[in-house]
Amino acid sequence: MLESIVSYGLAVGAVYAMIGITYNVMFTASRAFSFTAGMLGMLGGVLGALFIDRLGLPAIVGLLLVLACGAVMGVITEIVAVRPVLKSIEQHLYVLSTLAFALLIAQFTAIEWGTDAAPFPRLIPIGEGLLDQKFWIPMLACAVTVVGLELLYRKTLIGRAFLAIAEDAYAARALGLPEVRLRLASFALAGMIGSLAGFAGGEMLLAFFGNQSILNFYGFVPVALGGMGNNRGALVAGLLLGLFQQAANFLVGGIFASVAVFVVFIIVLLLRPEGFAGASGARRV
């Protein structure tokens, strides 16, 4: 039982952590939370099944295509739902525009793909039982993402440019950094991470349009608990969430497991609105 909780928990937790990181990357680029993180995850699974199962492409090609689609989705999100809203005085409109956009894509998927969960292809035929590749593919993907982002932000110029526009967009622009292009690139990156999460987790979560709302919420919990924009926090919180959820499923079962997660989430947020590792908000006067 314990091994089951650990394998499933860490694997699904890795997916949640990656969605959390998707939120974070979009947030650091625009100071806006986008409702599209769950949508990207859902598309990763659905498009993966489409390319590999229905169209018969090899897994690697499917993966690359999915990443490309994710990047395109991310870019479209920025252009359609984020950029126009950032210019207006009413900052919180991004909540609505990204929600609307995510709903649009989800409904379209439901109508074209179908409302039932479709199977996701087995990616690599190795591993048995609890060591099956469907468990450690998400963990691998998550590790690659986290390490990759760390290297990007700290070691490369473009990564540091990302951080600069997140920190202070005006100053960055004054220094000549192309703010819009960098933000586009950030959203493309977020799109890739989100769709990678859905693709890697596809064998567990199946290709299902309803994954959008599931991932939207469960992917947000790591962000809330780990602190906005804090990827390490999202990683830890995501893995813990996966383990907690599976343990609850096993011990309590069914309905009460999801209620448990929500209740814990709300209580933690009320006690520490900025999360365990987050910083308090900046000056507003």
Binding site: E90, V95, L96, A100, L103, V263
Partner: protein, 584 residues
């Protein structure tokens, strides 16, 4: 002077006539749709105050519909409790709605927008899961039958009239709130929270009140919903419904009653007309929402707001009338406000380092210094936004507590801001009326029902605000939307808002920024007159001429410390001040 909600009165009347006359068409299908629209509107009218006015992104509101529906259904079914009359059950649903509204709403006080939106979604899911799991009460997946109301409100046209009456009542009540100081305070919290606090609006209490009211409406709506459906199961309360409620308000336009009402009717009727599109209905809702947000964030209400599209007079001049001040500020003089030994550090940065300052009634005290010297920070400390590590603020000897900015208005301390904080969508008059919020005596309930005290408050506030606008010279623009004003007019509008509080102490943060030379001159005369009428003025400014013209005393800050203090003449020739700031 008309406030926006009154504009649609004719439309309301026409809607009412159409609604009352509907049974004449003898089409019970239209009756079902119209009843549904009324039920949704009862919920949406309350949610409108939360989303449209207070600006809280409460997406998971279907949870309250669910709770209200099950409460009424279970109580009238007689399976768990003895059978209760549907009317009493409806009241019980309202009560449950109140409790749930507070539970859902409380996080709004602590959480940012997006986080709060997520918690409402989580709450909606929890409620559905509980409805599924608690089989013994709710019937679980099978569900439970809804109540049947007795004659004269029996299913069919009788029930339709019942819902219509309640819907009309809700329209009236929410419209009353909208045009009361509570409605204005809600919008102020949404668009100009800092200014709202400075005017004495207590956000927590007001938000909780609104969530209580809104929750009650949603609960009642749920009870009616269960009767219309005849039978409820957890699957009937979909996320799509939450989206519908939300979009109706957004399409209608925030800060309006008529807009969301039209939006509700539109969204209820649309799927029936566009039958072949029914599979795409949620897709279309989402597309509609996206278009609204991007293109017409103001919604239908904005589209209908022809009055605010009439061109304004060009080359307007602001002509203050300081002579009218004494009748506005007709109250005893305030005394003295002093800061002693304030030290405030942000992380490693010492913003203020041992500052002692005072100003009193009847004087204009200038505060100048280079950028970053701590001028605005000083104002913010006095306003109570910051908690200094050491030092005290005292008003006539009594200590002023820090960290409670909304209490300052009670001490008659008013201020303006470096960047004007305004409610763009409201009229200039409404913006200014916010200044006098704390002088309203009526409660939320009295405003709900437009009882006499509410009417007295409104009259008083409107008169006072008009007076203040006349004093600053903007009375001709009273009915204009604030976001159409020029920058200089906004600065004067902020002063009018501050004056509406009839302040003992007025703090001005760079009011001359962006003004023309003539406007600065008039501003100076106005400020001087304000002080001579008994108010103590603390003026932060960069325009040296203005400072030296009207100030009685000047303090110079540099790097958080006082560099010099004294009369304008002394400061002007002070060597260090000249070298650090003024230049030769």
């Amino acid at each position: 002077m008309h406030l926006r909600w009154l504009e649609g009165r004719l439309t309301f009347l026409l809607l009412a006539i159409a609604a009352v006359g509907l049974p004449l068409l003898d089409d019970s299908y239209a009756g079902v749709i119209a009843t549904r629209a009324c039920i949704y509107w009862i919920l949406i009218s309350g949610l409108n105050l939360v989303v449209g006015y207070a600006g809280q992104i409460a997406i998971g509101w279907v949870a309250l519909l669910t709770l209200g529906a099950y409460t009424t259904a279970v109580l009238t079914a007689g399976t768990v409790t003895p059978e209760i009359s549907p009317y009493i059950a409806l009241v019980a649903s309202g009560a449950i709605g109140v409790v749930a509204g507070v539970i859902v709403g409380l996080p709004a006080l602590r959480l940012r927008t997006f986080y709060f939106a997520m918690t409402t979604l989580g709450f909606a899911t929890i409620v559905t899961q509980i409805a599924l799991a608690w089989k013994s009460v709710t019937g679980g997946g099978i569900g439970t039958p809804g109540p049947v109301f007795p004659w004269p409100f029996a299913p069919g046209w009788g029930f339709y009239y019942f819902c219509l009456i309640l819907a009309a009542l809700c329209t009236w009540m929410t419209a009353n709130i909208a045009s009361s100081r509570f409605g204005r305070s809600l919008i102020a919290i949404r668009d100009a929270e800092v200014a709202a606090e400075a005017s004495g609006v207590a956000k927590p209490a007001l938000l909780v009140t609104v969530f209580v009211f809104s929750g009650a409406l949603a609960g009642v709506s749920g009870g009616l919903f269960s009767s219309l459906q005849s039978y409820i199961t957890p699957d009937a309360f979909t996320f799509d419904l939450s989206v519908l409620f939300f979009i109706a308000i957004l399409i209608g336009g925030r800060g309006s009653i008529l807009g969301p009402l039209l939006g509700t009717i539109l969204l209820t009727v649309l799927p029936e007309i566009a039958a072949p599109l029914v599979a795409w209905s949620t897709f279309l809702y989402a597309a509609l929402l996206l278009l609204i947000v991007l293109l017409i964030p103001g919604g239908i209400a904005d589209m209908l707001d022809y009055r605010n599209r009439r061109p304004l007079q060009q080359h307007r001049e602001i002509v203050p009338q300081p002579a009218l001040l004494p009748s506005l500020l007709d109250r005893p003089a305030g005394g003295a406000l002093e800061l002693s030994n304030i030290a405030l550090a942000f992380g490693g940065v010492r913003a203020i380092d041992g500052l002692s300052l005072d100003f009193h009634s009847g004087e204009v005290h200038g505060l100048i210094g280079p950028n970053g010297s701590g001028k605005t920070t000083t104002l913010n400390v006095i306003s109570g936004y910051y908690h200094p590590q050491t030092g005290q603020a005292r008003l006539n000897g009594a200590t002023l507590p820090f960290g409670a900015p909304h209490r300052r208005a009670g001490f008659r301390i008013a201020r303006t801001f470096q960047t004007p904080r305004l409610i763009g969508g409201a009229s200039v008059l409404e913006n200014v009326m916010i200044g006098g919020t704390i002088d309203g005596r009526g409660t939320f309930a009295e405003s709900l029902l437009t009882l006499p005290r509410h009417r007295r408050d409104e009259r008083m506030l409107r008169e006072r605000a008009l007076q203040a606008l006349t004093v600053v010279g903007l009375e001709t623009l009273a009915g204009v939307r604030a976001d159409r004003l020029q920058h200089s007019e906004l600065r004067f509008m902020e002063i009018a808002r501050a004056l509406t509080l009839r302040p003992a102490f007025l703090m001005l943060d760079e009011p001359a920024a962006g003004l023309s030379a003539e406007e600065i001159r008039r501003l100076g005369a106005l400020i001087k007159a304000i002080s001579r009428a008994g108010t103590g003025v603390l003026l932060v400014e960069h325009h040296a001429d203005l400072i030296f013209d009207i100030c009685d005393r000047v303090t110079v800050l540099n790097l958080g410390k006082i560099l010099a203090a004294g009369t304008p003449a002394e400061i002007r020739s002070h060597r260090e001040v000249v070298s650090a700031y003024l230049g030769a």
